[in-house]
């Protein structure tokens, strides 16, 4: 994934016979220094926000190429770089007007724009992967808790690098969905807990099997 951003000033259209623009003290060093510091701050915010969705340890940085494959992972899907960009206009009048809050607005809007773009890509990618693997639940003709439970039964829990079972995260587009889950009867909660315990046991079992595949994990 690559990210880029740009900002433009609302330059007035100049008549065709306009003279080439002249300048009065370039101050390039100060101007470039300000921009690079601001870009660095924006990049840090974007990385931090990305870390909320995907653990930083799982961020991969590729120096070259636009595509990747996972030859040893039969279920993994080859990927390709996608470009994210955002563009904002900075009115000359605000700069001339000494509006210092412009910097905050600019940074926040730029970060928000990237966040939206990356979140969209993340859910689209997840959605496509689920469609491809059949991990999809049709919730149109059933209450949300039932659809949730059906989906919950389909997923497998993972085990993190420290050997702890990691619980799935629930991302919902509508806060009412959470309320519906909380309002579900005790039998529903008990069933969720039962499935959860079963999934945890299964995850630990799978993890133990996975570790046995190392030479050092073989039975003596």
């Amino acid at each position: 994934m690559t990210v880029a951003h740009s900002a433009t000033n609302d330059v007035k259209p100049e008549p065709k016979d306009a003279k080439a623009r002249v300048s009065f003290f370039d101050m390039a060093e100060e101007s470039n220094g300000f921009s690079s510091s601001m870009n660095k701050m924006i990049a840090e915010f974007i990385a931090k926000n990305a870390g909320h969705r995907i653990p930083t340890a799982n961020h991969l940085v590729f120096s070259h190429g636009r595509q990747w494959t996972h030859p040893a992972h039969e279920h993994a899907i080859p990927g390709e770089m996608q470009e994210h960009s955002a563009e904002m206009a900075m009115p000359f009048a605000d700069i001339v007007g000494g509006d210092f809050k412009l910097v905050h607005r600019f940074v926040l809007q730029m970060v928000q724009s990237f966040n939206d773009s990356m979140a969209r890509m993340l859910y689209e990618t997840l959605g496509a992967a689920c469609e491809q693997s059949g991990q999809v639940v049709d919730g149109r003709d059933k209450p949300f808790p039932d659809a949730f439970l059906e989906g919950f039964k389909k997923i497998e829990f993972g085990v993190d690098r420290d050997g702890k079972v990691s619980m799935p995260e629930i991302h919902v587009g509508n806060p009412d969905m959470i309320k519906q889950l909380e309002a579900a009867p005790p039998e529903f909660q008990a069933e969720v807990e039962r499935v959860k315990a079963e999934k945890i046991a299964k995850a630990l079992e799978v993890e133990a099997e996975r570790k046995k595949k190392f030479k050092s994990g073989e039975a003596p």
Binding site: H64, R66, W68, A72, H73
Partner: protein
Amino acid sequence: MKRGLLAIGCDSYDHIKPLDGAELDAKRIFGALTDPNIGDHDPKLSRLLLSPTLADVRGALEEIIFAHEPLDVLTIYFAGHGEVDASGFYMLLKDTRIDRLSISAMRLGEVLVTVVNKAPTTTHIILDACYSGGIAQDMNLLIRPETLGEWGSPALVLLAMASADQYAMESDTGGMGTNVLLECTDGRLFVQEHSGSLDLFEIGRVVSDRVGANPEQKPKRWALNVHQPAAFCRNPHFQASLAATFKNWRPKGFIENLEPLLVSTVDEPNEQVAHVDRLLNGLIVKAQGSPDQLLEPQVRATGAVALLKYCPTSKPASDYVEQACLQIAELSVAAFSRAVAELREEKYALLGPRGGLGDLYALPIRVWRIIGWAGAAWFTLQSAGRADEFAVETFGELLDLIIEHYSLSAVLLAEEQTPSIAIGLSAAFQLGFHDQAEMLLSILFNAGVEVGGKVARTSIKPDHIFEFMMHRDAGSLNEVPGLCANPTEAVALLLRLSPLFDLEDVFDAAMADLDHLSLNVFVASDYSEFGADMIESGTNHSFTIGHGVWRVSDLIAHWPEAASVRPMHLSVRMASLYAALLFPDRTPWFVVPEFTITETDAG
């Protein structure tokens, strides 16, 4: 190089009016020219004579010239009274009688005849005395067809501070000519900046300009039979110029700046090559004077890499790159031969010139760069059928010495070591240095396993290196994922190399310690792009240890076939190696043994 000096200053005279500053001038000249940072004449082969008699001078001259092996450089300096008559120029000494010059003064002609008898390669004569320009007639003694003109025959440079009919002036601080000469040697006066040393003839030009501004004292200079510049002293301005030139010089910046020019001349390939050649020449001359033995190969490699993308379509570019790579290889052989020679003498020779704790990080990278450039030299020369036995033997000795002295510092630390390791160990394998390569690979892998395979990313900023090292030492690199390569090609490479040296089982036993580590193998589909900042065409083959890869054999089974495809063009193949060494975020996988099977038109 044997450099001797005879410095004579005569203030006291038994029969002539005394002088004030001649002894001081001789002392100052002796001090400057025997200073290893200025004149670098050997004090053991040098003499300072203060107000000597004629016998003293003859004795000292005999000792300097005849008591040792022939000198490479002899410098004779005289400050005192001078006199000239029909037979030539005389240096007046303590016991000289003005009415008996021929038997009581030192005739320059006698000095020259003595020198010719056991001739140093270069003789410098400096006379800060009245009438010293009268030496011209003594030079007839040297103009002999049998001793001049042949390569290696003796050369003579003379600098006289006054014309044959003039006095040599003095100031409160010393002789006018000697003052200017010393200001040239210590850098207060600028002579030139393009060479690491100054020769007496070019210093004489400055002396003539400065002192000769006074019409009453016109210095004279002669150079006889000079085949090549002979170092009189170090050039203080060269070091400053060298430092300034290379302070901000980076191969990447050079290529980026050059690219628009190359694009604009793409239809004139000869002109394109000429641009690179012209721009590099100035840098090469300066790099040749650098103490960094690998600076010149790096500068030349930058030119080859700049033209890499044009090689498949431009014969001039391809020819230039091939020649440049062969030259780089020969220079690299000289550099690693020098490293071997230095290591034989001094086991700490590979420590950096700045010393300090920074070498904890820099040394492992430096050690592998040397092995990598040595390996690339062998691949380059071998592909042109020019790899000689000496280079091979020296490469083996280099590996031995590194194992002997640097086994604890040739460790895996940074992703940027990857291309050097790939090229160096692949060359070692092909040359049959299996034991050494196995040892080095084990050292690398063990160091990597200790920290879960985490290495510094290639783009780590210098001011983050300390932080990386502190976390590495504390075992907390998980806390600074931004400083670590993720995925890493370095560990993928080590695993890939292990079967070549029968280390597969050993590595398998440690794989659990690398659980969850992401590996990557980026394979370019066109190696003519290998010099680009970002190589667009190609595929990242990603692996995760513990997820599809539990043993070396799992990785080998899924290793991309494309990795073994080597570039068809010889120039592309050669320059790709140097591109990877200059820009170590890419690995020329095609050099890894057992993969150089298929030959296609990939570049």
